[in-house]
Each structure stands twice: as C-alpha cells, then as structure tokens.
C-alpha cells in the first residue's frame, strides 16, 4: 500500500524520508488531523495539508536564513506543533534536527550546542532564548535563534534573534519566487541520509550524539506500528521530552508513517487533564508516571467515603483475580466474568476515565523496571500495559511483549527484525535495521559500542528465560560482588525498594564491601499523606524524612525487600543491612539524576561519601552538609544530622523454593 504512489511525480518515489511521507499524507488524507494543540483552553487542530504548508514555509524561511544541506538545527522547547514542524522542515532541506532537553540549564546545553555546532536554533519561548543567549560566547557558530512565542521578547534588540512568524514570512516569499525549490530539496533526500541526532543523557561522562538515519527511523517505526496494528485513527499525547528517542518515534515518526494525529498538551502542568480530554489509544510512559498515577488514586481513595472505599477494594480484588486473564483472552469462570463486568461499570470504567485511559489499546512502559504490583494493577483494570526494552542506539525497539505473553519481570521477546545475544559477561547485544549509524563526531565511542558486524553492546546485564523472554537485571558495569563474592545487583535491589509507594529513590552500595547498605528518598506525596492522616506534623521534606515513625516505615519496606532477596539463592547474601533516609530529594539540577531521572550512582557515592562512610562505619548518626541548586539556578547549603538504621537480615532459607 505504501508503494501505491511510487514513481508518480517525484524522482525518487520511495517513501524513505519524513518530508516525503508528509507529502504522501497531505495528498492522501489532506483534511485529516496531523497535530493538535490546546491553546487558550481550546484544542486547535492542524490538518496534514496545513502541516505541509507550515513545514514548506518554515523550510524555505530557514533556507533564506542561510540554513544549508547537512546543517544541524537545534530545537529546544516543550512539545509544540511548531517545533515538530521545525524537525521536518530541517529534514526537508537536508538538515539534521537536534532536539534538546527543554529543562536543561544553560551549562548542560552548552556541551550539546558546542558539539552539534548548530548555526540556527529554534527555541520555544523567552526562557529557552535566554539560555541560548547565555551560550553565545561558547558557541560562536550559532548565528540565528528563531523564537516561536513572542511573549516577553520585546525588550530584546539583538540581530541574532528572529521570530518564527518572520521566518515563515520569508519562506512564503521565497516559495513565491522559487516554487520548485522545496519540492526539489525534498526529492533530493534519501533513506541513507542522517535523520536526527539525539543526545543521550548519559549516566557517566558527556552526552553522546546518536546519529540515526531515515532508514533506521522509518523502518523501525513501520515495524513497530505493524506489530501493534496502529492505524490512522490512533490518538497520541506528546508530553515526553522531544529530545528523547521514544517521543521521536511515537509522537513524530510513527505519526508520519501511519498518519495518526498527535496532540500537544497545553502546558507541562496540565498533562493529566489533557490526557483525560484526549483519551489516547497509544500511550507511552516511564514507570514513574504509572506509579504517580497509582499513588494519586490510592491517596484519593483513602480520602473517599467508606462505601466507595469498600467498593474499590472489593472490585479491585475481583480485578486482580479475573482482570488479567480476561485481558489476555484466557478462560475465566462465568461468575467472575459477571462480577468483572459489574466492576467495569462501577469502578474500572470511571477510574480509567479519570486517568484518561478509557481508550487505550496499547500502553508501553520502558526505561526502568516497573513494580509488579503497579503493572498488574493497570492490566487488571483492562489497560493493556506492556513492557518494552530499547535504547536510543536501537531506534527504541530491542524487545517488546507480544499480546498474550505479558510478564511483569521480563521485557519481552525480540522486536520484529531484531537479533539478540548474550555475551560471556552476561551483557546483552542486539543487531537490527534500527542500529544507529554512529555517535556524532566520536568514532572511538562508536567503535566501542558497535562491533564491525553490526552488533551493539547495550551495557545491560541480563539473560533469556525459558520462554525466550529477555530479563534485565542491571547495568552490566554496575553488577558487582560483595567482599565474600556474593552477587550484588544494585539496581535490582533499588527497584525492589522503589516498588514501595513510600520510597521514591534508593541507591544501594555493596561492591567490594562486606554488606549492602542504602541511601533512601521517601516519596513526599505518599508519606506526606500518611503523615496527615496520622497527625505527624512536619515543616519540610528534611523533617519528614528524618521522623522516627517515617524511618520505621522505611525500615519495614527494607525488611520486606530482604525477605524477598532471601528467597533467591544467588542474591540472598546481598540483603540491605543499614540505611539512611536522605535529607534532600535527589535531583537532576544537582547532577544526582540524569534528565530522564536515572541515578548517577558514582556521582551520588562521591557527593555523599561521608554518609556512605558512616553506613559502613558503625556509628548511629552522621552530620552532613550538602550544596543544593534551586530551580532558578542559585545555590545554597542544607545541613542535617541523619540517623542510620540497622535492619536484621532474613535467613537465606526462610522462603527457599
């Protein structure tokens, strides 16, 4: 079907780039919606034809500004239709878009801007423009900053700035003058051209720019869409950073390939409302979003009337028994089916509606392990949540869970076209049509990651289980051994801790030590709500985190994790014996987490070295002083006296199976 229009009007008939796919969509379904954005309280839509016009005018305008084939176009801002249009506009005239994380501070952007050597940047608003202006000295190559939202820009009188509207105007003029230019440029593009550079946030060292070709992105998007039977009627909410490969595939690439409509939320703070209004059918969220939603539901149910609480509890019990088998089409006794239908009417339906999940056909979670309770909760409600394992380097897809073969502790079987193998060190390697071209201007890193015959090192340790499903345990280099040789997989332990709603983050230590110890962040939402119900007064995160009763709760969680670990012969020795509840939340602004909220383990160990020493020192308290960065970029210090709690290990054979 995709080849129906081959060779009709364009020299290269293959639909091998996004600008060409845009042309097809504008021809075949001109009045169908391509993008939607909520502005002034109303959803404003753009059809494929309108989008094509916008992309053409913008591309011509960029060309007028001096943008040339092979140039990089830096793009920074929230998910906005015009920024997505800018991606395709750059591609249409042979440029390479480089989306950047919109919440990065100027210092972090500086590396990417310098490395990508973008001459033109498109920025959403004044906030992003300010950051780019700060970088001008470090990035002499930056010639023009195109700003989309003119708000607050009146006092800037700099030749480097130009408004998006002005660029469109220039583009319109150029197109009038030179009508064949854009079509010819689009036709020059081919599948083997670079499509996008995505900088990985990197848990260590500087970010690396992953260069993906059109052949990678178009091909993997198509396969992924076919695997899930995505049609043009799919609905997607684009709310994850544009710089992240998942958003690029789900909210950009697959929309062009399949022709479905992507909606952009009104603002970062309204995502949950927008989710409910749009009711996506195809949804992606990292585990933490599913967790947060579940926490909100739990908190609100605790405040609900007794009748509602009782109903919720009863029917969630029914759902836990019958929901997952029904979702997977397995036989279920009639009585259970009837009860489940009743529950769907009274509880699951309204609940899914509140969450915006009523219409979901496929929801993915990836990036981190998801708690089995959370995973099962959504599946029991009838929301088809599945796990996906992938990387920027693989154009997202490495493994995914086919319908009917869903397990909470594995990430599924190889995605279409992907080959998988585990090397002698237990590291997972893959080969696929989605394998990235190179790390931009970094041949050493490329050579380290990609073997000459196309296999890519994931850096993750895992194994393939009896059903052919991949199970990831940790980053390969993080898997360590205790002093006595016991296997120590920190992430595995941390995830088990984080599966408790009361614990937001955890960092486990133990490599080369004689026992395992952990730093823990409580979840302010869940613990705060508990404190409110139990009359525990507190003035700050720091005070709540150090409250003896809160420490008791955390201790209980740790004990349960230990019991869990004790049941696994290999990991029984790596139980957590001591922990500290941290006085501040780990934060990407302080460099403790990456922008995608993964722990930067070594950095944390370094920064809190005195706490780590205390964990292994035997004392029961520790004084500490920590420098923190506030949201506006200023810094301050907080001091605290922290208690260290001991947890008794569970005997290894307690729950041996």
């Amino acid at each position: 079907m995709a080849d129906a229009g081959a060779g009709t009007e364009r020299p290269s008939g293959a639909l091998d780039t996004f600008p060409k796919l845009l042309g097809r969509n504008a021809r075949e379904r001109p009045d169908a919606f391509a993008l939607r954005e909520k502005e002034f309280g109303i959803w404003q839509s753009w059809t494929w034809r309108e989008l094509e016009t916008e992309v053409r005018e913008l591309a011509c305008g960029l060309a007028e500004l001096g943008f040339e084939r092979g140039d990089r176009l830096a793009i920074i801002g929230d998910n906005r239709p015009r920024l997505y249009a800018a991606m395709c506009a750059a591609q249409s005239i042979g440029g390479i878009p480089v989306p950047m994380y919109q919440d990065s501070v100027a210092k972090e952007l500086s590396y990417v801007m310098e490395h990508a050597e973008a001459r033109i940047a498109v920025a959403e608003d004044q906030e992003q423009v300010d950051k780019l202006l700060e970088l001008r000295e470090a990035c002499p190559k930056l010639e023009k900053i195109v700003y989309v939202d003119p708000r607050g820009m009146r006092q800037y009188d700099l030749p480097v700035l130009v408004s998006y509207a002005e660029v469109l105007e220039k583009g319109r003029e150029r197109h009038r003058r030179d009508g064949a230019f854009w079509d010819a440029e689009v036709a020059r593009g081919k599948g083997s051209d670079a499509c996008i550079i995505l900088y990985t946030s990197g848990t260590t060292g500087n970010p690396k720019g992953v260069v993906l070709l059109f052949d990678n992105v178009v091909e993997m998007s198509r396969r992924g869409a076919e695997f899930e039977n995505l049609g043009p009627d799919a609905e997607v909410l684009a709310y994850l950073p544009m710089a992240w490969v998942g958003d690029h595939i789900f909210s950009f690439a697959q929309s062009y390939v399949v022709g479905f409509c992507v909606s952009c939320p009104e603002s970062g703070a309204t995502v949950l409302d927008d989710l409910r209004e749009i009711g996506p059918t195809y949804f992606f969220a990292p585990p933490r979003i599913f967790e947060n939603l579940l926490t909100t539901v739990t908190i609100r149910m605790e405040d609900a009337s007794r009748l509602k609480r009782g109903m919720f509890r009863y029917f969630m019990e029914v759902a836990r028994r019958a929901g997952i088998p029904i979702l997977e089409g397995k036989p279920v006794p009639l009585r259970e089916r009837i009860l489940y239908s009743l529950g769907a009417l009274l509880v699951y339906g309204p609940l899914k509606n509140t969450l915006g999940f009523s219409r979901i056909r496929v929801a993915y979670t990836a990036g981190e392990a998801i708690g089995p309770d959370i995973f099962d909760f959504y599946r029991a409600l009838g929301v088809n949540v599945k796990q996906l394992y992938g990387q920027t380097e693989s154009t997202v897809y490495v493994t995914m869970q086919p319908d009917g073969q869903i397990k909470s502790d594995t990430v599924g079987t190889p995605a279409p076209g992907v080959e998988l193998k585990i090397n002698d060190d237990g590291e997972v390697l893959y080969r696929s049509p989605g394998v990235f071209h190179e790390y931009y201007r970094n041949p050493e890193a490329t050579a380290q990651t990609k073997t000459p015959d196309g296999w890519v090192h994931t850096g993750d340790a895992g194994f393939i289980d009896d059903d052919g499903h991949l199970k990831i345990i940790d980053r390969a280099r993080d898997v360590g051994r205790l002093a006595d040789g016991t296997l120590f997989a920190p992430k595995y332990i941390e995830n088990k801790l984080k599966f408790f709603p009361q614990i937001k983050e955890a960092v486990a230590f133990g490599d080369g030590r004689d026992h395992v110890a952990a730093l823990v962040n409580i979840d302010l939402g869940a613990v705060g709500s508990w404190a409110e119900r139990n009359n525990v007064a507190y003035a700050s995160y720091q005070e709540l985190a150090a409250h003896p009763k809160v420490l008791d709760i955390v201790q209980e969680c740790v004990s349960r994790v230990n019991a869990d670990l004790a049941s696994d012969a290999q990991l029984a020795g790596s139980q957590v014996t001591r922990f500290i509840s941290l006085h501040k939340e780990l934060d990407a602004d302080d460099g403790e987490l990456t922008r995608t909220r993964k722990i930067r383990r070594r950095f944390v160990a370094d920064r809190y070295s005195e706490l780590v020493d205390a964990l292994y020192g035997g004392q029961s308290t520790c004084r500490t002083q920590t420098e923190v960065t506030f949201e506006d970029g200023r810094t301050g210090t907080i001091e605290a006296e922290l208690r260290i709690r001991e947890v008794a290990p569970v005997p290894a054979l307690a729950r041996a199976s």
């Binding site: 909520k38 502005e39 002034f40 309280g41 109303i42 708000r151 607050g152 009146r154 006092q155 009188d157 009104e266 603002s267 703070a269 309204t270 409302d273 506030f630 949201e631 506006d632």
Partner: protein, 264 residues
C-alpha cells in the same frame, strides 16, 4: 528598558494636595504626585504611612476631604469605585479578595463584568447575542489565563489554591477588566523568592506588552528598586520624597525614616 519613553511623559493620573482624615486621624496630608502613562510607579513607606489609603483614594473607595484626583484629564472629588473601574482603573488587594468558592476561570470572568453589555434576561437564558458576548469574554479570559500561565488551575476553586497562586488569580481578574491603570496593593506579600520573581515578570510584562500603567505598594525594597520607574515615599501621611529609585535611595530623609540609619 524601552517602556515609558514611548509616549512623551504624559500624566495619566494627577494627585493634588490630597488630605484624608478619619475622625481625628490624619491618614494623608496634602499629598501631591503624578503617574505618567505607561510607567511603573511604586508607593513605599513604613506601616501606617498611608499607602493603602492612597490607593483607596485613587480608586474611589475613600473620598478625600481636600484635594483632587485627575485621571485621564477628568478631575473628580467624589467618585464611586465602580465609576473608577469603568474609567479604566483595576486593582488587587493586600488581603486577597477573591470569590473563594468559585473557580479561577469564573473569578477572572467576573473581571469582565463591566464589559458585559447584554441585559440580565438574555444572559440568564444564554440566548443569541448574550451567548456570542459570553464567548468573546471567555476568549479574553483565556488570554489572561495563558498570559499568567495558570492553565492548570483553570477549573480549580480558588480556595484550594496556595497563596501565591491566589495572588496571581487576583491579578488575572484585574487584567480581565483591560485597565489603563492597575493598582497593586502588596502583590508580593507572603511570597517566596521564586513566586516573587514570577510576579515581577508578570508585572513587567503587563506593563511592557499592554502598556498598562502600574501603581504598586510593596515592602520588598529589592523588588521596588528593580521594577519601578519612579517611587513615591510616604511617611505619616506626608509625601517624603518622589523620584527615581536611585534618587530615593540616596535621599537622606528616606534613609532616616524608612531604610534605616546611615552607616558610616
């Protein structure tokens, strides 16, 4: 900054020899100053100096025993608050005065009240012209919501909002009236640094983008000196000084009365 210079120093408001007494208490005595079109004008002074009284005189809530107020060339001695509002003066209050049970959007819509032309019956039945009018006003309210970045709380009852956001909603309601002059009574009181910075930005943006003249009372000296074009200093109901932030900062009388004693 390229703000006030656009129009050639034309006074939008002139306060002349205003005196205000409550029984035996002299709240204001012979205060004179002017506000130029398009500027940000601050009124400062210690507690009880008469700052809020001054605002109340300007928007017609108090009627001074002596002196006159000239707004946009019209001189008045007695004017009611709604007349002042109809002339283009909107204000916010030291203690937030929102309709607590109503949503953010509804509160902002009340700011459009004076602009609604259709009669009560048409509005109640939501018929033809009233309906179109409602839609226009709603659109304007949405622009205000967008401007103040409060989309996420559009449908939230204001009583459930934190203090800083309530202040922002109050500013929104004042803006919804499309005022020529905005009176802000301690817009930053009780806010943390981040909220203050946001509020400063909104005030400067209102002033810069819409050319709205702003008169504000504020205690945070840093804020006042940063965002105002000119400052009036009151002390015990009298005008102590009047000038640019720099002039006021250097004025020995002001240093003495308000900013503390001179260091040597």
């Amino acid at each position: 900054m390229a703000g006030p210079e656009t129009s050639p120093a034309e006074a939008i408001l002139e306060v002349e020899n205003v005196s205000l007494r409550f029984g035996g208490v002299q709240a204001l005595s012979e205060v004179s100053f002017d506000v130029q079109s398009g500027e940000v004008r601050a009124i400062i002074g210690p507690n009880g100096a008469g700052k809020s009284s001054m605002l109340n005189v300007i928007n017609g809530f108090y009627h001074p025993q002596e002196g006159s107020i000239t707004f946009k060339g019209v001189t008045r001695r007695r004017m009611r608050t709604h007349e002042a509002a109809a002339q283009g003066i909107a204000r916010t209050f030291q203690n937030i005065a929102l309709f607590r049970g109503m949503t953010t959007l509804d509160n902002i819509m009340t700011g459009r009240n004076l602009k609604m032309k259709r009669n009560f019956l048409l509005q109640a039945l939501y018929l033809g012209p009233a309906r179109r009018e409602e839609m226009e006003h709603r659109e304007f309210a949405e622009r205000v919501i967008d401007f103040l970045e409060i989309q996420a709380i559009r449908k939230t009852p204001v009583s459930r909002l934190p203090y800083g956001l309530q202040k922002r909603v109050e500013l929104g309601r004042a803006l919804a009236a499309e005022p020529d002059m905005l009176l802000l009574d301690e817009p930053m009181a009780g806010m943390n640094t981040e909220e203050k910075e946001d509020m400063c930005r909104f005030i400067l943006d209102v002033n810069g983008e819409f050319g709205t003249t702003v008169v504000l009372i504020e205690h945070d000296m840093g804020v006042v000196m940063d965002i105002s074009d000119r400052v009036v200093v009151l002390d015990y109901g009298r005008l102590l000084a009047d000038g640019t932030p720099d002039e006021v900062r250097r004025n020995p009388l002001v240093i003495d009365a308000y900013l503390g004693t001179v260091r040597d």
